[in-house]
Subunit: 435 residues, 2 copies
């Protein structure tokens, strides 16, 4: 049974806080094992990758076969059906079009003192994308990570994807090709992250690593952070549906279950002012669960982490949504554009009954890598900006330095940083002598 | 003696790699102590803050005196000289003007299918700024952290600053006032970070914590990351000066020493194609060091971490600069605008002989919180964006869903996510029945 809350209840606040504080995931303590794996890859390079891949993925590689060859990729891709290819191409095109609009602009201006100021955006030179193996090997995630990197202008873009027993998802390789990935290495786990961060004889190091992974991958990303940039460590996925009267309970049930079927620790929450709808959705979820392929997972997620919250009105729904700061927020009301702007903490918002969250997972255009675990309060989904960085630029003229230099000198003195002050003073003295 | 390298030498590459790999800072292992402090603040709140502040800062506080009162702040600020105030105001105005241009734009558009797509930027609701006590209590850093937060639209902005023995820098309080900070708490160390992240009876939790600190502060920020957002953990500061023939060796020496005087682990590097200039700078550094107040620190930094690299030409200088990815890059050449665009990895660039790096520390306008330790390859200096987050927005019309929904359904099926597919299919079926 999911939690049932009602804002009119006296104990609502305590229950809502319990929901917010719910710990849905136990962190596995794999840090020592990961540290050893990283040290091994740093010291033995390719040889360590070959050994670790034999042990963990039951696959015998050599330096020469760490990467898929062009022929291997072509052969795998040839197995993809035309329908799957068309769907993936449509997704890639839409994701590319959306992210192309995110490219930031350089700026440069001259202020009243004559100083030229501004900034310049440049791409990270090389990026590595981790793609999990097995069941969680999602071609859509390849597109969502690789396309923003390419749009940013990353020169070298590689994938690490474990292939347990040699098995690979042909759609992953097709997605890599559609996104313009330069190489796909059949390595996984902490050893793959170490190879991407530090490099080996065969694999050049990258500057940024993104992409989801298991506890070993997450721990390895934390460890190499600083040496390279990483994306956020994603937690279990979440959806919040705000629904008004008159919405279809079956559609809402399916949207909740789309989240729940990912993972037992996923969380699906419905907030509605309509008690009848709340009951209808609960019934529809139970009904749909009966025939769902992943009913064990989805059922456990819904029972343990799900919630239905009855509110007085939609304003209250928006206020609660801001406290939850959901990864995905669906607004199914008569006028979703009116409520949307009141929801200020959310990774992605889906407006109206014809925008199920699953659209955003695949073909909507926006990124599906989004902040989880209430981190939408302070962070954003993956974007082109994650593969770029900004260099600030300043140029003083003699006049500009004469105008603002004395203040810099004064502040340097107040901070007891004498050389800072002298570096300005030496120039001002020259200008004064010339003046 | 700083390292002397020459790209014409056979062993240059090995020496340059040694320079790049130089470990300038030993990480203190304070993680266990920090974990205990955080747990104490989480369980005992204000009482823990009072006890820890008595122990570490020799200062007796109560819940009521954790924050400076308005009267205390006014009394401290009254001690600031008019000249210092004017300098700080000029700095604040220039930093505000620069950062105001960083505010990102929301976007919304309708694509060919009729889908409305876009994104919306919103501010983090509450931010906490850590300001070190004692010698490293820099008013300029208060401005550099607090002003971007205010420009972003952060509603509640507070400072934590330890006041050992009760001592506070009046300029820090003035900077806080000029930047529009809402409260200043006289707490420091890991306990301050814990209070900002988790809250106590007196201190409401924030969503984002920025600002420099010692090993305890850095370890605490790492630990609360995820619960709140943090800025990057800054390493020792660095400057790279690229200088062409004809530049003033004394100015360059002072710029190198501005960096070196921060910290023994700071790094100052000169790259020049002009051997005579290289010698003249080395001599000028030695001469300036004789009379510098912080000559012990600056001398150790220059001797242990400094370097002079002789190159064939300025193109080679830019290429090496990109491998170093310096926090600060000064380009002192006849045509710095020509070389600037070739330098693609740098936190901040200072163009021309009249733009000493110290200008950027105080009054230039750009932020002085910048990526260290080669992380300019993948990250940027502090900006307004660090206090904002982006929510992506999508709205499908029935026509849009009919156009792209089948591809989403197909991809969901290929990823074995049945409910995802059904959530789209249920809507498409309705449309087909209606159509």
């Amino acid at each position: 049974m999911p939690m049932h809350l009602n804002t009119r209840d006296a104990h609502f606040e305590a229950e809502f806080r319990a929901l917010l504080g719910m710990k849905r995931e136990e962190a596995e303590d794999v840090d020592q094992a990961v540290a050893a794996i990283i040290a091994d890859v740093r010291s033995r390079g390719d040889a360590a990758l070959v050994d670790l891949t034999a042990r963990f993925d039951r696959l015998t590689l050599t330096s020469g076969t760490l990467a898929f060859s062009k022929a291997e990729i072509a052969a795998e891709i040839a197995r993809v059906s035309p329908e799957d290819r068309a769907a993936l191409e449509l997704a890639a095109d839409r994701i590319r079009a959306y992210h192309a609009r995110q490219k930031p602009a350089d700026e440069s201006w001259t202020d009243a003192t004559g100083a030229t100021l501004g900034w310049r955006w440049t791409a990270v030179s090389a990026a590595g994308l981790y793609v999990p193996g097995g069941l969680a090997s999602y071609p859509s995630s390849v597109l969502m990570n690789a396309i923003p990197a390419r749009v940013a202008g990353v020169e070298r873009l590689v994938i690490a994807c474990p292939t347990p027993g040699g098995a690979v998802n042909p759609l992953v390789l097709l997605a890599a090709e559609l996104a313009g990935v330069d190489a796909v290495y059949r390595i996984g786990g902490a050893q793959a992250i170490a190879a991407l961060a530090y490099g080996t004889e065969t694999i050049s190091p990258v500057d940024k690593i993104t992409g989801p992974g298991n506890a070993y991958v997450a721990a390895a990303k934390r460890r190499v952070f600083g040496r390279v940039g990483i994306d956020m460590i994603a937690g279990p996925s979440e959806v919040l549906v705000i629904a008004g009267a008159g919405q279809d309970p079956d559609w809402i049930a399916l949207d909740l279950l789309s989240q729940a079927e990912h993972d037992e620790s996923a969380q699906a929450i419905l907030i509605t002012p309509d008690e009848a709808l709340a009951h209808a959705v609960a019934a529809a979820v139970a009904k749909r669960l009966e025939s769902l392929e992943r009913r064990a997972i989805a059922g456990a997620s819904w029972a343990n982490n799900g919630a239905i919250i009855l509110v007085r009105d939609l304003d209250e729904a928006a206020a609660l949504s801001n406290r939850i700061a959901p990864e995905h927020l669906e607004i199914l009301t008569d006028d979703p554009e009116a409520l949307g702007p009141m929801c200020i903490h959310a990774g992605a918002i889906f407006l109206g009954a014809f925008t199920p969250e699953a659209i955003g997972d695949y073909v909507g255009g926006p990124n599906h890598v989004l902040p989880t675990a209430r981190s939408a309060r302070f962070s954003s989904g993956l974007s082109v900006l994650d593969f770029m960085k900004r260099t600030t630029i300043a140029r003083m003229t003699p006049d500009a330095l004469a105008a603002i230099g004395p203040s810099a000198e004064r502040l340097a003195t107040s901070e007891s940083l004498q050389a800072h002050g002298l570096s300005v003073r030496a120039r001002l003295d020259r200008l004064n002598r010339q003046g």
